[in-house]
């Protein structure tokens, strides 16, 4: 085991040791390295002012796309930039140990050797894209990642590319204009080709397959290299906190000010980042992030694609993982209701055991999951088969990067004019994500008519007694959940209501306006 972390920072090799395992990249950059270009705006990965760009080795072909549906003008990044993909991430909730072997580029690291601005910086100057300037480095780095990947700069994709960066001054128009003028260049200019070559060379130079650890004696961050090491470490220290993308655990530290003695990272474990077909299921490993899972999970399920597009931001999806999202059991997580409606399963492993259970049975109560000591979520299994009647509705105050007030995911099968099965799952309606049995009872075996759905909507009151909180009142939650069942019914019975969210919503509205 190595007790140092080695990574590339702005194309120089950095080696750190003796740091508390919960040290965040942002604090280290700003306080230790005195690189103050990356800013703290919120400390929870919501504002993007701390955005830096990370390239990781050994993820070829899997992390290539962030699955922006409806996007046009993709330039096919893999052929052009080789195997590398550059992810924007929130440095404020990224632990230092997660950098082992990676390359980090900050806003200080992208100008050319002669000091002149990078195109991603210059375009922001030219379009008056900064006012107070505090959010600007984060925007620049989100643009930089998109520019490097040749992805996410099409007109229909810009809002998604920038959804994880908040600006309070400009109203975004000049920034979006800047992005639109930042044409991806098929052949990187010399300065960039040189930067990338150096980056790849340095990453290769520091690559190794050992388990690493970062510790100051009070808090350890352990990054096992193999599954065996991982389970052994967890068995040995069952009170360790498993970390995948740290988009949740990071907040326990930065917001909850928790002092966690040991963090055990899934991200370095060989094979944990694999998403493979296993029979009729997609088997999603513990370290598969949302960006990597989206495209394949969403195939044939456009609603899942759109909800995942609204899920966090590019930054959050590049860090957060599918298994982590399930394991932490948020009552308002958006994935669980969708995956429950799709009849997904969760696989739990420990040193000597392995079991699989339906996802809806995993969530026991608020913050309590069916996970025994020593067990970890080793996979999520999602049926591969088509789900033509699957729909998902995310209701939140803001379309992009908001936590749902209510999340509804519905899936029926139809035979003739009759509903033969129904899986209705909700988030935000109870202490856990769960199904609505009374609603389902009103539908299964009943004719595919609006009347059936009206009856089902009424029955929802037997399934849920939601609560008031800062996101919505109980009354609204119930009302809108019932209305979602109606909307679903309209869709299934041939009079779908256009959606307002996302690129598809924009396209729907455009069509609507034309027709009107």
């Amino acid at each position: 085991m190595r007790e140092t972390i080695t990574f590339v920072l702005n194309n120089r090799i950095e080696t750190v040791s003796g740091l508390s395992g919960d040290t965040t990249l942002l604090n280290w950059l700003r306080q230790t390295r005195r690189l103050t270009g990356s800013k703290e705006g919120c400390g929870e990965g919501d504002c993007g002012a701390c955005t830096v760009v990370i390239a990781r080795p050994g993820k070829t072909g899997k992390t290539g796309k962030t699955g922006r549906t409806g996007e046009t003008g993709r330039t096919g990044e893999t052929g052009r930039t080789g195997d590398m993909h550059w992810h924007p991430v929130n440095a404020c909730i990224l632990f230092m140990g997660m950098l082992e072997g990676a390359s980090v580029t900050t806003v200080e690291g992208i100008a050319r050797a002669d000091g002149s601005l990078h195109p991603c910086q210059q375009v922001m100057v030219d379009h008056h894209g900064s006012q107070c300037g505090f959010c600007t480095p984060g925007f620049v780095m989100s643009l930089f990642a998109a520019w490097c990947n040749g992805d996410g700069l099409a007109a229909s994709a810009i809002d998604t590319t920038l959804a994880g960066n908040l600006c309070r001054c400009t109203g975004y128009r000049p920034i979006a204009d800047a992005a639109a003028h930042l044409r991806p260049i098929n052949v990187p200019p010399d300065f960039e080709a040189e930067r990338r070559a150096t980056e790849a060379r340095l990453m290769k130079k520091i690559a190794h397959r050992d388990t690493v650890m970062l510790s100051d004696g009070r808090c350890r961050f352990v990054a096992p290299a193999t599954a065996d090491d991982f389970t052994a470490a967890y068995e040995q220290t069952p009170d360790a906190t498993i970390v995948s993308g740290a988009t949740d655990v990071g907040l326990w530290v930065t917001k909850g000010h928790a002092r966690l003695p040991m963090l055990l990272w899934t991200g370095r474990v060989s094979g944990f980042d694999r998403m493979k077909k296993a029979g009729a299921y997609w088997q999603i490993g513990p370290a598969v992030n949302h960006a990597a899972a989206m495209d394949r999970l969403a195939k044939g399920r456009p609603d899942l694609a759109e909800v995942m597009r609204r899920f966090g931001s590019v930054q959050v999806r590049a860090s957060g993982t599918v298994c982590g999202n399930i394991a932490n059991g948020s009552p308002i997580g958006d994935l669980p209701p969708m995956l429950i409606a799709l009849a997904a399963e969760v696989e739990l492993s420990a040193a000597e055991s392995n079991r699989v259970l339906p996802l809806e049975d995993f969530f026991l109560d608020y913050g309590k999951q069916d996970r025994a000591p020593g067990e970890y979520v080793s996979a999520i299994r999602v049926p591969v088969g088509a789900a033509p009647h699957f729909r998902a509705y995310k209701i939140s105050k803001r379309f992009d990067q908001d936590i749902s007030a209510v999340m509804g995911a519905f899936n029926i099968t139809i035979s003739g004019k009759r509903i033969t099965s129904a899986r209705f799952a909700f988030g935000g309606m109870a202490a856990t994500p769960r199904r609505a049995p009374a609603v389902e009872d009103c539908l299964v075996g009943h004719p595919l008519t609006m009347d059936s759905f009206v009856t089902a909507a009424t029955a929802l009151e037997d399934d849920f007694s939601p609560i008031d909180d800062m996101r919505a009142s109980a009354d609204y939650r119930l009302q809108v959940a019932q209305n979602l069942i109606l909307k679903y019914g309209m869709d299934m019975t041939g009079s779908a209501v256009p959606r307002l969210a996302g690129p598809q919503g924009v396209a729907d509205i455009a069509a609507l306006l034309e027709a009107g």
Binding site: C42, K255, S473, I509, L512, G516
Partner: protein, 806 residues
């Protein structure tokens, strides 16, 4: 609108200046720090390179909305590793107050706490981790007292900061009674968190003689200087406050910077080491005031054509636990109850509610937006009542055009002499094809049961000047060095609005030298004293004039000397194109400067400006508080889903009057940013306190400012081409900081129109912010199609429907 405005100028001069210098007035000069912003080299307070022994300050906050402190044992905190000192009110040698005006904001609580989040003690530690770990070791006991949290609570209990104010013109009761139609109602308007991306931050450094230098993210360095001096028991001359830039202000750094600055300075005084106080986002939300939430009750009488005959508005503002700037904010809310509409017989009553919540403070518009929204709601409701297009009703009620034979007088007695709204609205309605789209939308709605569209055109008339007359003054300091470079300093602060850029353009224009020859420097109380806050949209009006005066003083001295030297008339000394001509002699600016230096001419000057013509009698709520008015209008079109309340802005067109713009790119930026901020206030941004007075939305995860995808899908913004300030302002420009925020009202009114597309005889009575929940319930209340369990229909027309769920 992409490329509507030219990109960065290339130094070829401005369209209306015959001579060419780079970065002249009226050119779209980029922000002076743009290069540093994108490179990450622009320095904010928390970026300042500090000595290794710099300490940090963490505030221990009250968990109670209202309570008596019965005991406080901080010994364990003081003994915790890394903690250097713990401060309580007893450690304040001077005055325990950080308020801007009334002396009612304790720095650290003494025996009573008055809101959840109030500062009770301060930990001074080697680093933030040590301070965070020590925080839970504090043993503070409280006896909870009854808390008044909402406007409703305060009005019922008679909990006010001061007596209600009344503004009255004509005979409102008689005029209302005589009118053929009447309407009464209420609108509840939520508050707004500033959400400047950079939280409050201050760094204090010790100097000799016990002096202190404070680097602070503040709109008001002079006030910081005074409050730090008072708290530490120092003279003002012992405290220097410097502000290079803020990462956003929006009014939230007008008075709210006092607390972190004072605590940092107290820590310096206690330890002899540098100290900084940087709020994290959650602490910032919990500690600082916000835009006031307001309840407005209205009672109006009007004609069959929609002309308002008489009106009464009763405004109740939730001020929070102390005055802060609420008196002036409430006054501005009253002064904008008329917005653009001439109602000769009007009464405005203003209640300043005292509650056990954060002390609400300045926020872009300063009460104006809430005041305006009252009458915009009235216009919308009148149009619904009479089945008229709201735009027709608006036009019918505008103040007379400035060329009209008779001008209108506001409810506070100021004659509106510069109204250009007719021109703006006519042009905007044409350009945006309002009438055609209005018709198309109504046809669309008739055929679309769930999805409804709406459109609204709303005007803004916003008074420019501080309501508090004496604040309307400014100073500047200009040095010209012998190489021809210029050092510029003025009393205004840069928060992203481009003030420094505009003022430098003004000075470049005076000297006729390139923008880049002017060094913009940090605002500091050591150079320009006794300044006002950079607020009330006045930054350029005041400081631009002061800088111009300073430059002109130097220029006059140079002219006199060069005329003598080269034996020509003063009129024949001409500064142009980077050169100075003196009769037949042609010198570079630097040569001219050098010659003046050799001739023993002072090349440094202060400049000073005080706004003329204004006066205000607050006891009678009458006078001429505003030097002039800024005007603008917006058309917004929205689409809503009546089953869910989801909504989206389809298109917004804006025409705004920036007078003769000093910098069209910066002005457009203010308009776009202000509009989106205003739209956010009225749609996604919802502050929620629980029944114990605890703010539950205290981070971007729970408080939703607009994201990139929330800007209008089509967004066309233009400056009013014929705009020119009729008053003698700096190069005939108009202030542009606050007025555009209120263009966002068009979005709320468009949502109301979309709801009216349900065809109900009931008016939607939509409160703000129009979250999906409020829109869905408004639709349900007026009988939208869809599932409707009648026994759960709430009454959303009357008392607040959730602004403050208490």
């Amino acid at each position: 609108m992409p490329d509507q405005w030219p990109l960065e100028d290339t130094g070829t001069g401005s369209p209306d200046c015959t001579l060419g210098i780079a970065g002249d007035i009226r050119t779209p000069r980029r922000h002076d720090s743009a290069h540093k912003h994108v490179a990450g080299t622009a320095v904010y307070v928390d970026d300042i390179r500090t000595p290794d022994d710099t300490l940090i300050v963490l505030i221990g906050q009250s968990p109670h909305a209202h309570a008596r402190i019965t005991s406080m044992d901080l010994s364990q905190v003081a003994g915790a590793p890394g903690v250097v000192a713990v401060l309580t009110h007893k450690d304040i040698p001077g005055v325990n107050d950080c308020s801007p005006v009334h002396g009612d904001d304790p720095i650290l609580a003494e025996d009573i706490v008055s809101y959840v989040g109030q500062a009770v003690f301060a930990i001074v530690a080697e680093n933030m981790r040590a301070a965070r770990d020590a925080l839970p070791l504090a043993a503070v006991s409280y006896n909870a007292l009854p808390a008044i949290l909402t406007i409703e609570d305060a009005m019922r209990a008679g909990s006010w900061l001061g007596p209600a104010a009344v503004m009255e013109n004509g005979d409102p009761d008689g005029a209302i009674a005589a009118a053929p139609h009447h309407l009464s109602g209420r609108i509840d308007i939520g508050g707004q968190e500033h959400f400047y991306l950079e939280g409050q931050a201050a760094l204090a450094m010790p100097a000799e003689d016990g002096d202190i230098t404070v680097y602070c993210s503040t709109q008001h360095p002079t006030e910081i200087q005074h409050k730090v001096a008072d708290a530490l028991g120092l003279a003002s001359n012992a405290v220097t406050v410097e502000t290079r830039r803020m990462g956003g202000g929006f009014g939230g750094k007008e008075s709210q910077g006092n607390l972190p600055a004072i605590l940092s300075a107290l820590a310096v005084q206690a330890t002899g080491r540098p100290a900084k106080t940087v709020y994290d986002r959650d602490d910032d939300f919990m500690l600082t005031g916000k835009r006031h939430d307001v309840r407005i009750d209205y009672h109006v009488g009007f004609d069959s054509d929609g002309r308002i005959r008489g009106a009464e508005f009763e405004q109740a503002l939730r001020c929070g636990m102390s005055w802060d700037l609420s008196e002036a904010i409430a006054a501005r809310a009253m002064c904008h109850a008329d917005n653009a509409y001439h109602v000769p017989d009007m009464r405005v009553i203003s209640h300043r509610c005292k509650t056990h919540t954060q002390s609400n403070t300045a926020f872009r518009g300063f009460g104006g937006p809430q005041g305006m929204l009252g009458i915009e709601r009235v216009i919308d409701a009148i149009a619904h009542e009479l089945d008229l297009d709201p735009l027709a009703v608006r036009r019918r009620n505008f103040y007379p055009h400035h060329t009209a034979s008779a001008h209108g007088v506001t409810p506070y007695g100021q004659t509106v002499e510069d109204c250009v709204l007719q021109d703006i609205v006519d042009q905007l309605a044409d350009d945006a094809e309002y009438a055609k789209r209005h018709t198309a939308i109504e046809a669309f709605n008739a055929d679309s049961p769930v999805i409804k569209r709406g459109i609204a055109l709303t005007p803004v008339k916003f008074g420019i000047s501080f309501n508090t007359t004496f604040l309307n003054q400014a100073g500047a300091l200009v040095h010209v060095y012998t190489d021809g470079s210029v050092h510029l300093n003025h009393g205004g602060t840069e928060m992203g609005q481009g003030l420094n850029t505009k003022v430098a353009q003004i000075v470049a224009h005076e000297f006729q030298i390139d923008f880049d020859a002017i060094k913009i420097t940090a605002t500091t109380t050591g150079k320009v004293p006794n300044t006002s806050a950079t607020a009330a949209s006045s930054g350029t009006d005041l400081n631009g004039m002061a800088a111009q005066a300073a430059a002109r003083t130097i220029k006059t001295r140079m002219t006199t000397h060069l005329a003598g030297l080269h034996e020509c008339a003063a009129e024949d000394v001409i500064f142009s194109d980077g050169m100075v001509r003196a009769g037949a002699v042609r010198l570079s600016f630097a040569e001219a400067v050098k010659a003046c230096y050799m001739g023993r001419v002072s090349l440094s000057s202060t400049g000073y400006y005080a706004t003329p013509k204004i006066h205000w009698d607050s006891s009678r709520a009458r006078g001429r508080p505003f030097y002039y008015f800024a005007y603008g209008a917006a058309v917004s079109e929205v689409v809503i889903d009546t089953l869910t309340g989801e909504n989206r802005i389809l298109r917004t067109d804006i025409l705004h009057d920036a007078g003769r713009s000093l910098n069209p790119a910066i002005d457009i930026g203010q308009i776009e940013g202000g509009f989106v901020q205003g739209a956010g206030w009225l749609t996604t941004e919802e502050l929620v306190w629980d029944g114990d007075g605890r703010l539950r939305t205290h981070a971007p995860s729970t408080y939703k400012i607009p994201a990139c995808g929330d800007r209008p899908m089509a967004f066309n913004v233009a400056l009013f081409g014929a705009g020119e300030n009729l008053e003698d302002t700096i190069h005939k420009s108009k202030a542009v900081g606050e007025p555009p925020l209120m263009l966002g009202i068009s979005v709320l009114m468009a949502i109301s129109h979309a709801l009216q597309g349900l065809g109900s005889a009931d008016y939607p009575m939509l409160n703000a912010p129009a979250t999906p929940e409020r829109i869905c319930f408004a639709a349900r209340r007026i009988g939208a199609a869809g599932f409707n369990a009648a026994d759960r229909v709430p009454d959303v027309s009357g008392s607040g429907d959730g602004n403050n769920p208490a």
